[in-house]
Amino acid sequence: MSDHDGGPDFDVVLASTLHDVKNSIALLVSAIDQLGLRVERELPELAPDLYGIQAEARRMNNELVQLLSLYRMGRGEFSVSPRDVVVVELLEEALSELESVLRTRGVAVEIDCDPELSWVLDDNLVLGVIRNALNNMARYARDRVRISARTEGGWLVIGVEDNGAGYPESVLRMAGGPARDVDFRSASTGLGIYFAREVMGRHSRQGRVGRIELANGGSLGGGVFTLYLP
């Protein structure tokens, strides 16, 4: 991809550097997990701040993962691998890494999902999308987060809601329209939404294609992030 003779392929250098930084941050996140156990025991009043730092590190990690995924998509090195997934297990796994920050911030979590419900989807990718939404809500929720799943007319609908102040108008606009309308300058969540839409767009069934919707209100009155999977 380099336009210059002999110079390094900058795309590749950039990607491998991102990869390296991402792994460093992953180590940081894991280290805070270990540290957190001690802090909760010995200095519990510091735990929310520590987990807040971890949530930020996780956000950085998520963004880099998404960036690298987009890079791989551009190079024809990206695939989705849908398989049968018991949905409630997926939701529990999505929550598991945020359990500490939510608990120490005093945010109550509820899961609403038929334990028998199973769907065909790429769990690793969808997990990334849900976690990204949850990670945001862990920051903005006042004291409640709800995560739910149900089927509706041949779609699996996964909803992530909180009772915070909701999404700003500029973010709401990005979720619905065509992908090129995503404005990366206007909001820090631009990349997350773009990635979520790319992932959903690669889930299709008999011509129907997955999508996300962002709204305010819902059952808790805050932000509502909804995934529609065919």
Partner: protein, 437 residues
């Protein structure tokens, strides 16, 4: 690295960073899936494909949270059972609903097995176009191209795959095998170089891979490199005897090509001695296990091939003695020796009496039955020399004589009797060339 890991088809994987809880949940998920498919997998492990397929159908009609996984498994089992048409229909049914890569891959495989090669080719090319890192699709595409008779294209596909995923030993090896078969020794040595380099620090180092590399290097004229590779290979511990033997045989050829005749002979003699020693060991074991008949047969073969090697014959006798069958052993050795001496005498007498055709038939049959017996093979070549001197030189007889001589040369290239017959055959070949010229 990830590509390398994915080549091992893990049940599942987690993306960094993950915490203890996430890992625990994921392991539980994998286990639940395994339990659900347990009956199917058990039958498959017992190689009872029909039962495994029946289990799939039961699960599917009873309803399961892992419906798609069961369909996938059923299709794989149908493929394993050779029911390609039925598997193909199942894959196509899945693809009608969702575009899933495993289903496309399975469909391509069925098309290949059904001989619909052009369609299979299109499937695998489309998969690679969708994601150029799906390494399995390259393996399939190479297989399809080879079946289409395009060996060169097949090798190009595999070469491309090894560039993208350079750590797969298996794929380098496959490429090397194809290149060796096609006589493309440059490519073969490149591929086997990679195999040997990747294996260097692993537990799966193989003498055979070193021998293949040396074979390719020898064919390219790099005998010094071939020798170094062979010696490296022969140092690997715990290798199979047959592999060590092949390496030794090639080492003899390579040394000869390097002009080191004495070393070549030493290697060949050592090989023969090792071969005899291991046959004797095996016979001892068979006797100890009560497999008297098989042990005797093995030793009789050894005597047939080496009826003039007194050291070996006394070793054979003592193996019988140790097993409490000294009398039987002596009788067998003497009888076999007599049989061979009589056979050789009879042939020589026939030839002297001018019944050269009969002598030739006798030695020809004997040489086919005892390809490793030096005396018989030398006599077979000798009688052909007599025949050609009397009735004229024929190319087919020259070739036949060469074949017998080659068998002797591989064991004793400097034996005086061998060299004498060798010279006579060379003279006849030269006279034939000059009479034609």
């Amino acid at each position: 690295m990830v590509l390398g890991a994915m080549d091992h088809a893990p049940d599942d994987y987690l993306v960094k960073p993950f915490n203890r809880n996430a890992l625990k949940l994921r392991i539980e998920r994998v286990l639940r899936r395994k339990v659900e498919l347990g009956g199917i997998e058990q039958a498959a492990a017992d190689r009872d494909l029909a039962t495994a397929i029946a289990h799939c159908d039961e699960k599917l009609s009873a309803g399961s949270p892992y419906r798609l996984a069961i369909v996938q498994r059923k299709a794989e089992l149908l493929v394993a059972a050779g029911e390609y048409a039925e598997a193909l229909a199942l894959y196509e049914q899945v693809l009608e609903e969702r575009h899933l890569r495993w289903a496309a891959m399975g469909r391509g495989g069925c098309l290949y097995h059904l001989g619909r090669l052009a369609e299979a080719e299109a499937v695998f090319e489309a998969i690679i176009k969708g994601n150029r890192l799906v390494m399995e699709a390259y393996d399939w595409l190479a297989r399809v191209k080879e079946a289409q008779g395009s060996g060169e294209e097949a090798r190009a596909v595999l070469a491309q795959a090894t560039t993208l995923s350079p750590r797969s030993v298996r794929r380098h090896r496959e490429l090397g095998q194809m290149a060796l078969k096609a006589g493309d020794y440059e490519a073969a040595s490149k591929a086997y170089h990679s195999v040997v380099r990747l294996e260097r620090h692993s537990f799966q180092r193989s003498v055979a891979d070193h021998t293949r590399l040396a074979q390719a290097l020898h064919a390219c004229g790099d005998d010094a490199g071939a020798l170094k590779t062979l010696r490296e290979g022969r140092r690997i511990a715990g290798a199979k005897e047959s592999e060590q033997r092949q390496a030794g045989l090639l080492e003899g050829d390579v040394l000869e090509a390097l002009g080191q005749k004495e070393e070549a002979e030493a290697v060949r003699n050592a090989l023969a001695a090792e071969g005899h020693a291991s046959a004797l060991e095996r016979a001892k074991m068979l006797f100890a296990q009560g497999e008297t008949e098989e042990g005797s047969r093995l030793l009789e073969g050894l005597v047939r091939d080496n009826h003039e090697d007194e050291t070996l014959l006394s070793a054979v006798r003592s193996v019988f003695q140790d097993a409490g069958m000294g009398v039987e052993g002596d009788a067998m050795v003497t009888a076999t020796q007599d049989e061979l001496i009589n056979l050789n005498n009879e042939g020589v007498d026939l030839a002297r009496a001018g019944r050269v055709e009969e002598a030739a038939t006798l030695f020809r049959d004997a040489a086919e039955g005892m390809p490793a017996n030096r005396v018989v093979n030398l006599n077979a070549a000798q009688v052909l020399v007599i025949r050609m001197r009397q009735r004229g030189v024929e190319q087919s007889l020259l070739d036949e004589a060469e074949r017998y001589l080659a068998r002797v040369a591989s064991q004793a290239p400097d034996d005086a009797k061998y060299l004498a017959v060798r010279r006579k055959v060379d003279e006849l070949a030269a006279s034939r060339r000059s009479s034609q010229g």
